[in-house]
Amino acid sequence: MITAGIDMGAKTIKVVIMEDGKKVLSMAKDLGGTDTRATTEKIYADALKKASVKMEDITHVTSTGTGRAAAPYAKDNITEVGAAAKGVIFIYPSARTVIDVGAEEGKTLRCDATGKVIDFAVNEKCAAGAGSFMESMARALEVKLEELGPLALKSTNAIPMNAQCAVFAESEVVTLVHQKTPKQDIAKAIHDAIADRITSMVRKVGFEKDVVIIGGVAKNPAFVEAMKRNLEMDMIVANEPEFVGAIGAAIMAVENAGVK
């Protein structure tokens, strides 16, 4: 059975095509933009092409992500939390704790061997613990987003930064810049601030090995470093971390196809 999972993220949209919920046939993603429906249709077609399957070959489509209700093709949907757990367990059966930091939301969950969620937490009404925080910080520092992490790794100084608000924290950065603080130290301060936020959330849910990091921010080495330092343990950075949710949805689609 061929199924598809669509992850309607806050910033990017990902599509995964799978066979029997066991083999990934293709993955595609793009920025959601303002007309998300059109974009999704484009990405979907793209994924089908990569997998060289036809629209009618797809038995069932399940969506997930912030905009999951508005996903085209999808017959039903699953929450980001559920999808993340399913996706991670598929790729890393030994995973018990998942840390998911996307563009506008930080999430963490604990699950059992079957991918059943035991407990979870989502960051509250401030985005300081999310990817977009990094973006605005990168802009304030005038470095490219992808340079921010490597830059931070160069620093060994800890500057306390009180990151209550993504945009407001910019003025703290600006102040540091004006005090002629080395950019790499500021970059590190930024990562420590986010890592502290996420760590707090992880501690709240509790964590056990193996810990897997997914979501766009997982690609940031400095963030991962800070997390390892905070939790005093090693953790797995999922490869293709952004697609885990879509994979979870595609697996869910197999189960759901059975129901209907």
Binding site: E124, P160, M161, N162, Q164, S171, E172, V174, T175, L176, H178, Q179, D192, A193, A195, D196, R197, T199, S200, M201, R203, K204, G206, N230
Partner: protein, 381 residues
């Protein structure tokens, strides 16, 4: 100035000091929250009371224990406990005041148990004549508990002595504060804060000796910068030296300013009044804590903080007030409006600032400089 630096040292090395004290005396150390704790009784039992104050380090360990809407100070305190900074404590106690700090205490003893923990039911309605007898009764129970813990009785002689030591300490602090009334204060607010922080975490007799040394030289001491605008700092628990340092070290030609007095529990409120004479020692102690300058949680139905504050303003020649408050500190949020109104009516302009574990110095600096400009803008017009 060395006579001041010793206090800074004690404050910086608070943990080393306590551990060393234990070795030296073989006594027990009691960590405590809130300045309503009747330290005289602990001192008489040969116990060293050490107040838990802020570390001002970002942390990520309290989220599972305290809901984020409670003040940063209580979370900062708990974090130090959970991180094991105070592992040398034999006991931990709190005197009933605000809900926020209470959680630091309850979560601490739950997850980092100590031999002896105690919740002292300090009455809230200190304005009721009934509170004296009630507190005395609570103190009797407390005294027994401490005796049971330490295994020895607290004699009246010992208690009298401790009361005298604490009263002397309070008198010396007043002598220190009085020097700040001079047109040119010989000491900065930052240094005074170091002294009162040390005061709350070390042996009072030792603190008294150091204070006497300081008071011997301080009157003749001349600071390297003018006192400038005379400021009052009033509000929540405050041990943020970085902030005081920033304010007192701005460009001295334009923004010279000095904190000449404070109204918060890490400063004047801690030592302001003495234990009165009374044959009934526990009643005497009860009277001292009931009649001290109140914490907002206990300042009702009448507002007694206001006349007290206005008197401080007059006595210390205050020209402007910085009203600081720990973020989410409800008790102070319930006083701020009335306090600012009263100060305004007394012709004192106020600047309100909300404190977190660390303060965004850059943003606060603009506010403070602008505030000082509003007090002295003559040369610009």
């Amino acid at each position: 100035m060395n006579e001041i630096e010793v206090f800074r040292e004690w404050k910086n090395k608070r943990h080393e000091y306590a551990k060393e004290w234990k070795k030296r005396t073989g006594g027990k150390v009691m960590g405590y929250f809130c300045t309503y704790v009747p330290e005289e009784i602990l001192h008489a039992a040969g116990v060293l009371p050490v107040r838990i104050l802020g570390s001002h380090e970002p942390q990520n360990v309290t989220e599972p224990h305290i809901f984020a809407m409670f003040c940063p100070f209580c979370r900062d305190c708990l974090a130090q406990g959970l991180k094991g900074r105070f592992d040398y404590l034999d006991g931990l106690m709190i005197a009933q005041s605000c809900l926020h700090i209470r959680q630091a205490y309850t979560s601490w003893i739950k997850h980092k148990p100590v031999d002896f923990s105690y919740y002292l039911c300090m009455p809230h309605k200190v304005q009721s004549k009934r509170s004296y007898k009630f507190l005395k009764g609570e103190l009797e129970v407390f005294k027994k508990a401490v005796e049971k813990w330490t295994g020895k009785e607290i004699s009246d002689k010992a208690l009298k002595h401790s009361i005298e030591v604490y009263n002397e300490n309070r008198r010396l602090m007043h002598d220190l504060y009085n020097l700040r009334k001079a047109p040119e204060s010989p000491i900065s607010g930052e240094d005074v804060m170091c002294i009162s922080m040390a005061q709350q975490m070390m042996d009072k007799e030792e603190h008294n000796q150091a204070l006497k040394k300081l008071l011997a030289v301080l009157p003749k001491h001349k600071r390297d910068r003018p006192t400038g605008t005379r400021l009052l700092i009033i509000g929540s628990e405050d041990d943020d030296l970085d902030f005081l340092h920033m304010v007192e070290n701005l460009n001295k030609d334009q923004y010279a300013a000095t904190f000449v007095i404070d109204e918060h529990c890490t400063g004047s409120r801690y030592f302001w009044n003495e234990v009165p004479d009374d044959k009934d020692l526990l009643m005497a102690i009860s009277r001292r804590y009931i009649e001290r300058p109140p914490c907002p949680t206990k300042d009702w139905e009448e507002r007694k903080r206001i006349p007290h504050t206005i008197k401080l303003v007059k006595d210390f020649g205050v020209q402007g007030a910085i009203v600081m408050q720990q973020k989410f500190c409800d008790p102070h949020e319930l006083d701020t409006v009335a306090i600012r109104k009263a100060l305004d009516e007394a012709g004192i302009k106020t600047l309100f600032l909300e404190f977190d574990v660390t303060v965004p110095i850059g943003q606060f600096r603009i506010r403070v400089e602008a505030f000082l400009e509003t007090l002295k803008q003559e040369d610009l017009f």
